[in-house]
Amino acid sequence: MNTGLFITLLLFLSFLAPFTRRYLRGAAGWIYAILPLTGFIYYLGLLPAINDGMVILESYRWIDVYGINFSFYIDGFSILFSLIVLGIGTFILIYAGKYMQTYPMQGRFMAYLILFMASMQGVVVSGNLITMFVFWELTSISSYMLIGYYHEKPEARMAALQALLITGFGGLALLGGFILLGIPYGTYELSAILANPDLIKQSPLYLPALILILIGAFTKSAQFPFHFWLPGAMAAPSPVSAFLHSATMVKAGVFLLARLSPVMGGTELWHVLLTLFGGFTMVAGAWLSITQTDLKRILAYTTVSALGTLVLLIGTGTQYAMNAAIIFLLVHALYKGTLFLMAGNIEKVSGTRDINMLGGLYKSMPVAAIIMTLALVSMAGIPPMLGFIGKELIYESAVFAPTAKYLILIAAFFTNTVLVFLSLRLSLDVFWGDRPQYGKRPYEPYFALLVGPFLLMLGGLLLGLFPKILAEPLTASAITSISPGHDAVGLKLWHGINTALLLSIMTLIAGIMAYKYKVAFIAYSGGVNVRYFAREFAKGFASGMDAFLLYTKNQTKRIQHGYHRYYLMTVFAVASVLVWVMIWRTDPIVLELNFADMPLNLVAVLVLIVAAALSAVVSHSRVIALIAMGVIGFGITIIFIAYSGVDLAITMVMVEVLMVILAVAVLYHLPKYQKYSETGDRMRDGLVAALVGSFMMVLVLQAGTSQLGVPISDFFKETSYTEAFGRNIVNVILVDYRALDTLGEITVIAIAALGIFSMIKLTKKVKS
């Protein structure tokens, strides 16, 4: 197997899901899960070789000219992400198969979920920036479908659109950034870019490329001020929140930053921007989660906070920070996946997600309670879970941060305190304490709904218990691939008594204190929110969108006004200004005035044509317009005769006669001219007309005095008689060399005749 084949198979499975779901019934989730599980095992099997320093490159030709290929680049970092995507994905499919069983259109839901899995897997193994962009956008699209799955609910549609617009906007910025990044390298291949990481930093394109890529990453990873789409995305069913909006898709931005940190990172600007946005998002996410009461929204805001932490760590960029980033990434995926799935379970068995309505569930669902509590232990950063190691590393990297050390320490301390507080709240307030009246009798969730959360939680536990044997091999090569030159720090549960440990203990105490006085704490936080964050970002975004729609509606009304003559006028005016500018900038035409080649009779004809044209324009009489039309037609016929266009003249005479007769016949039925326009309008139209007429005149002079190439007519002159046996070359061209054109012309005339016939026929029918 290889990566290209695997992603193709996933896409194929996504295509099959809607058709096969109904035959597979309850087993659908289990059967679909086989494929991601296979992928998980495949990538796990590659891990030893990757840890020895191997990098797998795979490439399929796509658009050679632009250096765009379907390339895959697999190193330790891609493997770690693939394992997260496919490992969690496997459980999500099993879970969703059961969870969504009673919902309609489950096949479609599965199809979107697998489509998302394929695109996310594509993002993390992409070896070409453009390939990555394509998969990146595919994750946005499948996320849109999944958030809006309950499409009959307006708020779900709204949230889906909001997420799509924000991540789509970021995606476009990202494409621009990728193209700029590719310019100095002359390729979009990741391997070539990673091999020469300093090239872009010396280029003037660094700044715009960095800003555009950061916009892409920040929108996707819900960094402040784009964070609000993520809580909104909680309108999606729980499996989606667990998969896309905690463990995988929102990590895509973090993935990108980490992947490109050897290339784009290391500069002052990178450091400042990432630390600033990441740090602020971390604190803001934690702060906003305090007052939430919906289980999923609490988790969503802590996810925002975790994403901020990851960005902050990547921005810090030290050895400890990079280690912390990778470990925390894994920790967070494991516990947050579990927590979201459990939130779904709780809603399913108790009928509510509101934490104030919950309590005492331990008696009804002890297994679920233990699983969730252990995951929360990891979130709180308490040993022996892997979360503890993650948190210790974050503190270590804050202690050793090159700049703003104390600020980062305080921010991290605050965030972790809130996490401890929320862990206590989510565990104690949900499973213990008073048991309120539930709408239905809570029960232990089914096996399929527990196996995923259990195994994810178990992963966090085992990795925490055996960091040397399990966690290190999994993460070591990931760390070296995103921060070359840095080795992985040895992982252990017990670091000895140091600053980080002391901070951990203080965090724990602070968190417990906050929980003890939770009513006051929540009230205080809510008060500050009301005072300073009264206007929600999501609402601001919505009203911004409304204003934008109104603006475009007015703009469209202004541009698409429906008056054909103003459309025409715009075209003419723009064209004549452009052409006149060009004429102005080219050399003037030199003309020799030779009165000898101006035969008087011909000059008289020309004067007649001009007079006829002008009188057709100014006349108020339809008859004069008709006469002018005839005069012009026959005048042109005479010009054709004078300059050797015999066939043209013959045709023209016949056509002109027909045309005048037709015009008379039609005009007979039409009313007399009326005055429709004011003098001002006429002046304006006259000006446009004069501009067009005059530039056409100059163009005729240009064309008549320049010969750009050898005429191809010599061929016709030589072969007309010898090969086509005709002496009239014009006729020979029409009926022989260009016979097909003439056939087309005849067809046009036939169609016009048919149209005319049916229009006249139709009239008679209506009358009778």
Binding site: L591, L606, G645, M697, T705, N728, E745
Partner: protein, 113 residues
């Protein structure tokens, strides 16, 4: 002569544009006809002016050099015929337009949508 012909073509284009900008639909068609004429003439003039030598094969050697260029003429001939088709169709359309809407004012058409 080129200069004079250029003036004529310019005037034809100018009047065509002016007529196209009118509200009366018949004037619009008239503008279309003028535009066709102007373009045919433009092609004809731009390909060079030759008097007295139509593009016929005669059996006198050396004459083919000064003969008029047949290719633009073939193109214009096609254009004239197609122009006839378009104009005829447009004229009948105007007739139908008036018999249905009882107006020749294009602005009224867009207001009545």
């Amino acid at each position: 002569m080129l200069l004079l012909l250029a003036v004529v073509i310019g005037v034809l284009y100018g009047s065509a544009v002016y007529l196209l900008l009118r509200r009366n639909i018949f004037k619009l068609i008239l503008g279309l006809i003028f535009l066709g004429h102007a373009t045919n003439l433009l092609l004809f003039v731009a390909s060079g002016l030759t008097s007295g030598y139509p593009a016929f094969i005669r059996f006198i050697t050396g004459e083919s050099e000064s003969m008029a260029d047949p290719l633009p003429q073939a193109l214009i001939l096609t254009a004239i015929v197609i122009g006839l088709g378009v104009t005829a169709f447009a004229l009948v359309l105007v007739y139908r337009f008036y018999s249905v809407t009882k107006t020749v004012d294009l602005d009224e058409l867009s207001e009545n949508e």
